[in-house]
Symmetry: C2
């Protein structure tokens, strides 16, 4: 059996995801679709709107065969580390291809871009560093540095969010020397960053914005979501009283920053360049997450970067942990969230080739990656009512979801 | 002018406090009554039911002339350190006497007990250590060790809570070489630990129990409280929606323990003898503070000791900070919460003799004691709605309350 890997957040699973999933199946002709999915927190530094098990169930119903958790330590990172973690996780399951959506749509151009970058690596890093020194944000600085070595819009436009991620996957494949073939599908219509819903295929950002603004499923939101997602969102709200969003975590976050010393803040991943002083100074003066973000935002400290810092503060994620992962070239384990019968057959067939342990719950002596996962999980559930917290926490210890 | 010092929590100020205050004035014939009052958290490891400013106002209205904050680092400690901190704070303001309530009621016996203890210090510490090794709680172990050196019930009964505190004050006076004269008043009727209200003078414990069980002022509670206290409690509930109690902090506390490593927990004051393992293990299995406490309680880890540990976790109070204070013999500052015109006149008169800085708000470069105060303050307010949090936090920066 051959497997195609998808790197997803499904936050929540929408019509665009369905389109990509169906296309990926068609294009790769794979026997088994494996999604490596971010768990509690997402790449741009946000809590997932509903928990990972609810999102896993939807994915399985909609045509994914295996859902694995992208370890938290990789999930909330800049595109390179995020991509590397995802590729290593897919590689652990012997996935043949990885199929990603991109604005560009031509995989060979990504590969060429990788080789150009390799050739001019030193120049690129020197330029990037210089650009950053002038106070530019990371996305802007890298866009300029790419341009200097000839990676301009004519080829892959590396200022487009999905191209950046796709380029990360290709780099990850080469850098970890992984036998996965990259495949890309041109993204359908909407822009990753679209803020409003204008079509049945809308960006996850616009869908979340709609859902969270109204605190319920509006007809606009419904038009963009498969039935299963609608049901899951409804059910989550009914059982837990909320969808997860930053504002709900604001009191916790504010409490944490106020009770941490500057020294402690500096040990947190992403707290650099003196941001701890601004965090401490502003913490006792703001009355909402939005208010705090607007107070902190600068050209250099983008919204996404700040949100990631807040995730790391909330989850107590230390610099030294992330530092120790930068050069890892294989996943420490594969955490299986759910599978179909087909997925199960695939795993059975590949069993002997898979070297990493396949786990589900937390273990008694977890390594640092699983330990971080547990912290992130507890931080994620911490805003729920006590009984629900215990209930959802228990899921984390149970066998994977199996769709028959 | 001569001042009499009182060491109080006023949580909340009740008829028994009024009795003690009036008696202390009569017995000492002082011109000025100074109360050193615990701020956010109390000696037995509980959050104050209403904030320190509300409690200060009541105290001033009821006859206290100056209210100073007992620094947080001394407020939530075993009786010796608590007492030492309070005595040092009163000494800073050149208080002539300290007047405490006790079950025993004869101050000379406390002084005699101190000298007996001094004489048999080595024996006492040896016995205490041995008693503790057998797994006894601190109160029980010290009771036995006192008994061995001849401090038995016939003299001061050092198993009675107010005698223990009073003995702490006397020790504090001698150990820091402070020229304060101790005076004691026999406690009126009720027992410190009384759980139920049976009289218009009831224990603060029984009054809080009544208030928190009903979430409002019942007629039983009202019968034990001066009008001012009733009004303040009503007003606090109206403005902030809650009275402070442990259950309200439970989600924060649980979140903290779950996201801290064992190593981090071990740096917290009071986390000893492997309790960090039990804290971590139980944290994801409990659904209320009470439930957690009952799960953790042992003969050795008494209710009070556990509550203090929880205060230190919540406020991020480290072992090394408290360790550095054990041998201090003067207060680093005096934080003035409020005063009457008489109190103001007293301070004016003593101005030149007072060596420590008199402060009100937090400063830009606080020392470790004031820094800990700020953390405790933010932790205390963290459970309030955002707007109220900002409002009450601002009080901490304002000039002292002045009653004209």
């Amino acid at each position: 059996m051959k497997a195609c890997g998808l790197i997803v957040e499904y936050n929540p699973f929408h019509n665009g995801h369905q389109y990509h999933l169906d296309q990926a199946k068609k294009v790769t002709n794979a026997d088994c679709m494996i999604a490596v999915m971010s768990g509690n927190f997402l790449q741009r530094g946000e809590p997932a709107i509903i928990d990972k098990y609810a999102r896993t169930k939807i994915a399985l119903q909609q045509g994914v065969d295996i859902v694995i958790e992208l370890p938290f330590v990789y999930a909330v990172q800049h595109s390179d580390l995020f991509a590397r973690g995802a590729i290593m996780t897919l590689d652990a399951l012997k996935t043949s291809t990885v199929c990603f959506g991109s604005e560009h749509g031509e995989v060979n151009d990504f590969i060429e871009a990788y080789h150009i970058l390799e050739l001019h690596k030193d120049q690129f890093h020197k330029d990037l560093k210089e650009e950053l020194t002038t106070g530019k944000s990371f996305p802007e600085a890298s866009k300029n540095a790419y341009s200097t070595i000839g990676l301009t819009k004519g080829k892959v436009d590396l200022s487009q969010p999905n191209n950046i991620l796709g380029f990360g996957y290709v780099k990850g494949i080469f850098q970890t020397n992984t036998p996965i073939t990259p495949v890309t599908i041109k993204r359908y219509k909407n822009d990753f960053h679209d803020q409003d819903i204008a079509h049945s295929i809308a960006s996850a950002t616009s869908i979340r914005k709609e859902l969270l603004a109204y605190g319920k499923l509006t007809s606009k939101a419904v038009s963009t979501l498969p039935d299963m997602t609608q049901k899951a969102l409804d059910q989550y709200l009914l059982s837990n009283g909320i969808w997860h969003e930053w504002e709900k975590y604001f009191p916790l976050l504010q409490y944490r920053v106020l009770t941490m010393s500057h020294e402690e803040l500096r040990t947190i991943h992403g707290v650099n360049e003196g941001i701890e002083h601004r965090l401490k100074r502003t913490a006792s003066q703001v009355d909402s997450f939005k208010n705090w973000m607007e107070t902190l935002k600068t050209k250099r400290y983008t919204w996404t970067r700040l949100q990631r810092v807040f995730v790391h503060i909330l989850t107590n994620t230390k610099k030294d942990l992330i530092q120790s992962l930068l050069h890892a070239d294989e996943a420490p384990y594969v955490r299986l969230l759910g599978m179909t019968q087909k997925g199960r057959a695939y795993l059975k067939e590949k069993k002997k080739q898979i070297e990493q342990p396949i786990i589900t719950g937390f273990k008694k002596d977890p390594g640092p990656v699983l330990q971080a996962e547990e912290r992130a999980t507890d931080a994620y559930y911490s805003i729920l009512p006590s009984k629900q917290k215990l209930k959802l926490r228990k899921q984390e210890l149970e066998p994977p979801i199996i769709l028959s």
